[in-house]
Symmetry: C2
Subunit: 395 residues, 2 copies
Amino acid sequence: MKRIYLDYAATTPIRKEVRETMKIFEEKIFGNPSSIHKEGRTAKTALEKARNLIAEILEVKSSEIIFTNGGTESINLALFGISRTNKKFFKKPRLITSKIEHPAVLNSMKQLEKEGFEIIYINVNKDGLININELKNAINENTILVSIMYANNEIGTIQPIEKISKIIKDYQNKKRKNFPLFHTDACQAAGYLDIRPKKLGVDLLTLNASKIYGPKASGLLYIKENTLIEPLIFGGGQENNLRSGTENVSGWIGLAKALELAQKEKDKESKRLIKIRDYAIKNILKIEKTFLNGHPKIRLPNNINIIFLDIEGEALVLKLDKFGISASTGSACHSKTLEPSHVLTAIGLKREAIHGSLRLTLGKETTKKDIDYLLKVLPKIIKELRALSPISLKK
Amino acid sequence: MKRIYLDYAATTPIRKEVRETMKIFEEKIFGNPSSIHKEGRTAKTALEKARNLIAEILEVKSSEIIFTNGGTESINLALFGISRTNKKFFKKPRLITSKIEHPAVLNSMKQLEKEGFEIIYINVNKDGLININELKNAINENTILVSIMYANNEIGTIQPIEKISKIIKDYQNKKRKNFPLFHTDACQAAGYLDIRPKKLGVDLLTLNASKIYGPKASGLLYIKENTLIEPLIFGGGQENNLRSGTENVSGWIGLAKALELAQKEKDKESKRLIKIRDYAIKNILKIEKTFLNGHPKIRLPNNINIIFLDIEGEALVLKLDKFGISASTGSACHSKTLEPSHVLTAIGLKREAIHGSLRLTLGKETTKKDIDYLLKVLPKIIKELRALSPISLKK
């Protein structure tokens, strides 16, 4: 049976062009970039070429790009690296974030709370947009860092990053301070949105490869020059002393290639996917007792998140899987726990409704035909599951 | 010109069998192991198979294996993870290490010193063996962790890990305590030595793939069950909540395969390389004003480290490079700095001598013929460089 993969937000396959680019670095160019012999220099040159390419795409300096092992590490480096080293300049150091961030942000914040930071979690409205006034009021002279994600991984809602940046800049100008700094997790955005840090007005920006058809274990953190930050991982001093460990040459070259293609194709691909997305949403909502999560328009072109009342989402995902369709109840990171999604909780849903959530995330291979197949099997599955619902909901 | 790569301690190419094993996970099996659909489950099953294989090789439980991004991250997780979370149980928390550890250990220790830990650096003798009595005396009731590398990356000296473990166990038994814990960095040892944690008597053990013909950005930390440790990287809770971030499935499967082959072949390969190594050493030492660093016998089968007096090591490496031979002045991690090697300093060498160090590390592809070529060109190069030496040494 042909598989229909609709879980691109969890992870993407590596696209052919990226694999081709990486191949020679897995087979032939294997040197340690810190070595001064030919093998080392060749690896180093290739790595710096990748860094320059990324800098060009993001319209920043190469020295502002720190390669990491992925989105989670980049986020940890941003949050811990900024907070711990700047803590001493603040009486009662405060960090601001939203209630719907990725666990990499929320669990880092929890740890930072233990380390003595005050964490302010900004609320979101029913569409998942953060409360801008609340954010504005939360910024005070103890605020070191604001971290707000660009686009949500579960419900796809896109935050007004430029607007938030303007608020922060206005505050800085008024107080003649360089704080708070602003970090955004742009992992889900890179395939569809403008991610240039200066355009967005952010000081730190997280990206990774495994959501844009690049390899796993490869990410980056953009850090605006002259930003005081300390490393999370200590050792040989690679990555400008901010991230030690032998460089992942092939993985980082793969990230550069993936990012180049993603940003080149983003407008065309967004247009194509919005059409398929809205077609899917319109038709899925014809099933009774369903509603859409996330903002109807200000959302990622590839994200669909629907509540099916009286349905147990996990059962739905497993049933779809039997029909060859890969979907998710929320983020892949939640599937280990039985906790209701913190994102769906934050937009005001009750536990019972959250249990019936289905996330479908589209990608490069998704066609209208795939959605037509989904639309054919989904109503039957829902009907079948609802017939069993009193039992399945007790779980 | 055919290249003769003699820098296997810096990094190894990926061997064919490992590449073949990884291939399908880069091309077809791309799911996020946290997803519950077929793609996710397939990835998860493969990942757990890799973990089980490693557990079998190391004769430990699968649950004791935490996958990481490489040796540096494993070391950081061991050192920070153990120290920070157990700190509260000790009045004046102490960590013990040696003066010749990898920068990943030494720079983590420096950071931990800033965080209030007392760090004791054990001396080594002229062969690079640590002073066992000094270590014994350094252990007190405030000691949380001892971290001693298995085999040195620069001079190849192998430490008596079992003997150190016995000292620690004796102390624990006498005091009826579970501390200090014992961590060893076994990155350089995995291709040649017995690395079974229980045999060695260690509580934590670091390994990585890129030194044993596996991929870069892939490592593991063995953590004995019931050991209290906290994560370094927070997020989705992968790796038993100790190391968040989407799993690097292909990289970790590559590590398992590389480790399987390395441990299977270690005795035969050690025997082969010791012959070539000793042949090379004997003949290089015929060049005047040279001597061997590291223990003549208790050393890695693939390590040669020689001082050429009145020579500038970097010039020598660059010259060898022109003749098609890849070598190193010390570890790859040092080549960025102009600091003299801390390892060669610790074994008692003067700055001038250290400047003339050359590390040759052999590997799978190394043959006696390669060494014969080296032995042909090396004396000429040394003679030539020594003729220039007063100038080059001023650098």
